[in-house]
Amino acid sequence: MTPGEDAVKSPTDFSDSVDVQRERRQLAETWREPTGLVGWFSCVHHTTIGRRFIITAFVFFLLGGIEAVLMRLQLARPENRLLGPDLYNQIFTMHGSTMMFLFAVPMMLGLGIYLVPLMVGARNIAFPRLIAFGYYLYLFGGIFLYFMFLLNSGPDNGWFSYVPLAGPQYAPGKRADVWAQLITFTEVSSLVVAVGLIVTVFKLRRPGMSINRIPLFVWAELVISFMIIFAMPTVALASTCLILDRLIGTHFFNPAEGGDVLLWQHLFWFFGHPEVYIIFIPATGIISAILPTFCRRKIFGYTLLVLSLVATGFIGFGLWVHHMFATGLPKVAQSFFTAASMMIALPTGAQIFCWLATLWRGKLVVKTPLLFVLGFFFNFLIGGLTGVMLASVTLNQQVHDTFFVVAHFHYVLIGGSVFPLFGGLYYWFPKITGRMLSERTGRWVFGLMMIGFNLTFFPMHQLGLKGMPRRVYTYLPGLGWEGLNLLATVGGSIMAVSVLLFIVNAFQSLRAGEAANDNPWGAGSLEWATAAPPPVYNFARLSVVAGHDPLWDEFEKQPVVTGVRSDLREVLVTTVLDAAPDHKYLMPDPSMWPFLTAVATTGLFVGSIFTPWAVVIGAVPVTITMIGWFWPKRREQEEQAAAEHGHHSGAGKDEGPVGGERPIWEGQA
């Protein structure tokens, strides 16, 4: 699996002298990922973990898609008896939970894990073992959910799990606990990944990539990482209270004992609304990465785009109450959230205008990734405009919790997020695998998805206005809903075909696809400056960045960072604002401990569904594995000493951090 050998032939990553070749070999040896079964569980390189995140998330996307098709089949005609209420309620809950927690967020984080270190020109992500730990927890959480579903214990209270329906009195059995613990798994996983991404963006950027040159996709990942850190603790708190209510009889949400059912909704949506932006913002980053490449020019309005991302991240926390307009909160309070919900249209609008300007002034190269971005414009605009409608308290009270809302958020999440994601998959597939996806099949995938998607979800607007509520397992004939539901089911199957076609395309390309060169689209960002697929050390030559799109800004003439040792997993840490070299840091070696810690943590999480004692007993293996993880190893200590020796034997502190005899940064930027 080590793609290191290919790197030697990389045309963009210059390879002239024997010295350089020797250095590459040494780098490949230093950064080598372990092999074998034990090795598989010990990998810590971000490309390995990122790839696993992406593939796992895609598998969950397919599972969620199968659930969606089942729901559409059930709703194809009135009083259908294909799925009973019990199964349907489990399936719609599984669909929502899967798509939100096991597909969308991990997929966006997985892309971040894979791409962010490459885009900022680092050799690995910060805290790679923690990221690996996050992956295993995510995987185990997903397996746990589906295992329980197969045992007919899948959650059935919706992905929002409102109390008291999910409380101890109305949800006997373990279904609601399964949901609550799934949340625990995914929130811990997202939190650790968010921490890794933030530190990577802040501290591991290539010299020269000052804060005003960070690629927009990286900005997007940075913004959502902060959003995760502020939003996830809220749902962690809420789901813990729910488990406590269910497991040991606390009464956080029991009105009979002074608890409050609305408290859950506030806590959940304070997380739940930002969650939507956590899914959407990376998609805007993907668009900002794809558009310049296929318009052959710099993105228009970089600063405005960055400010829009950050503004969306802030305002996204101020509109959760628009999910609760029907709960009879004071009208003045609702007006505030109406204003906030409408206001968020402005940063989003600013992004759309900047992208239009980029297109307007560019030279168009029509390839599949661009098609998905154009599809995004059409679909997302519809979703965004219905979002403005939903911001209105009065109109919201008519369409809230109806199929109109189902249509709206699928236009936002599929149109706004999955379309760019597929564009991104076509765009970065050659980088990740070294093979091109078929352009011809790609156009079919796009066309079918576009038609299928609109056929499925557009009629739902009208269904909602004609009174069809959400989350119903069936409906009566004679209310004028039959035709539109059937149309949606037909559209859904077309969409399913398009996804299947994509899978065929991917497998064909992997097996016998056209080999990709390092920069097949002629893009400008740093991930294209290395081989496809990237070697385990990412970059041999650490050229300084001189603009927004480094490869378009005379990359080959830039000075090169030297003095970062290639016999150790050494990386250069730079300053937050200017990305000036600060000091050097030793990345950890591969280790099996993150995997073992994840196994121990899983035991604790799953056990605590059944008995509170699992927290006490389960803490022991978690502690042991944590101690194992952080136990200082002799080799690492020696490496550290070696690195520090080099560090101090050089020049004094005033002359900046240097390693070995050579300066880190030759020449000037």
Partner: protein, 342 residues
């Protein structure tokens, strides 16, 4: 390069838009439709909808037109343009577009506030009805100063045309949401909270409402009817509801009543004027006067009633009514007794 991308996009998109527009206009009418207003509030809300709809449609068309023009220019040109003077001009255009967006959003917000003022202002002389949401049916209690005239009924209310009705709502178990699209938007019913909403019908008719907050197993079958009728009709109906239940008039009905009182039925159901006083399930005092049974799921007729009593779990799986185990003559007897409860 052929003019491929845009054409393809529009070839896909145009029929979809056309079909969409057509379906949106075709038949907004219906007895559970937000776009077929029958009261002052839903009329206001539907006006708000059409305002939103047209504003958003215009914005959508403008942005799509800009996209098409951008694609046309970007395709025909040989080289991208980046010279700074023109870029600055575009910056100004974007600033203008953002300004216009802000103004549009502001206008929509003000329109929303004004609609809200009209829709939520407290009415005078309203008929008071208490509503209790239960898994999976609706309990209604008409307020009256005289306790004997506080009528309790289920899954169907009658209201006089032109008179506002104030609903005071709470839930007995989990959260529900009351929604009659032809009359008004929805308001949640939550345990531990009392919410209110008022509505009014301006033309006679039967409007269907349905629970809009997911409330478990049979959320799909939790509907009710609002019958709006003239004042006289309403008063007649109300007077009838105030009366105790009719007594059995033949042997079969007598047998039915006896069965009702001796089997499990009395544990949950109430029939005023008899010993049946259960409060867990719908009040059956005037069951036969209602149009539907099983919370708006079935027409209230002989066969449906029989099937329901024999095995309600088959009709509405998971509902709270246990199978009665009745069949043959006993079933006929109990059905004929209930059919007499007009």
């Amino acid at each position: 390069m052929k003019l491929w991308g845009k054409q393809k996009l529009w070839r896909n998109a145009l029929p979809v838009i056309c079909a969409a527009m057509l379906t949106l206009y075709s038949s907004c009418a219906g007895r559970q439709s937000a776009l077929d207003p029958a009261g002052p509030q839903s009329l206001r809300l539907s006006r708000m909808w059409w305002l939103m709809f047209w504003v958003c449609t215009v914005v959508f068309i403008l942005v799509m037109a800009a996209l098409c023009e951008a694609l046309r220019r970007a395709r025909s040109r040989a080289r991208p343009e980046v010279e700074p003077i023109a870029e600055r001009k575009i910056t100004k255009v974007i600033a203008g577009a953002l300004g216009i967006s802000a103004v549009i959003l502001f206008i929509l917000m003000i329109a929303d506030f004004m609609t809200g003022r009209a829709v939520y202002s407290q009415p005078q002389n309203a008929l008071q009805i208490k509503v209790y949401g239960r898994q999976w049916w609706w309990e209604f209690q008409y307020g009256d100063p005289q306790p004997s005239r506080r009528v309790t009924t289920a899954n169907e209310i009658h209201i006089p045309v032109g008179r506002p009705v104030m609903l005071q709502m709470t839930a007995r178990d989990v959260i529900h949401s009351l929604w009659v699209p032809n009359l008004h938007g929805k308001t949640d019913l939550m345990p531990g909270y009392q919410t209110t909403m008022w509505l009014q019908a301006d033309r006679p008719g039967t409007y269907r409402g349905q629970c809009a907050e997911y409330c478990g197993h049979q959320h799909a079958h939790m509907a009710f009817l609002v019958v709006a009728e003239s004042n006289e009709q309403f008063n007649a109906w109300f007077e009838n509801q105030c009366r105790a239940a009719h007594s059995p008039i033949d042997a079969s009905q007598q047998r039915g009543q006896q069965l009702f009182m001796t089997r499990g039925c009395v544990m949950c159901h109430q029939i005023r004027g008899t010993n049946a006083g259960g409060r867990l399930a719908p009040d059956l005092t005037h069951l036969a006067s209602r149009q539907t049974i099983a919370a708006g799921t079935l027409q209230n007729n002989h066969d449906n009633l029989g099937n329901w009593i024999a095995d309600s779990q088959h009709v509405k799986p998971g509902n709270r009514m246990p199978p009665s185990g009745l069949n043959g003559e006993d079933l006929q007897a109990i059905v004929s007794y209930l059919e007499n409860l007009k």
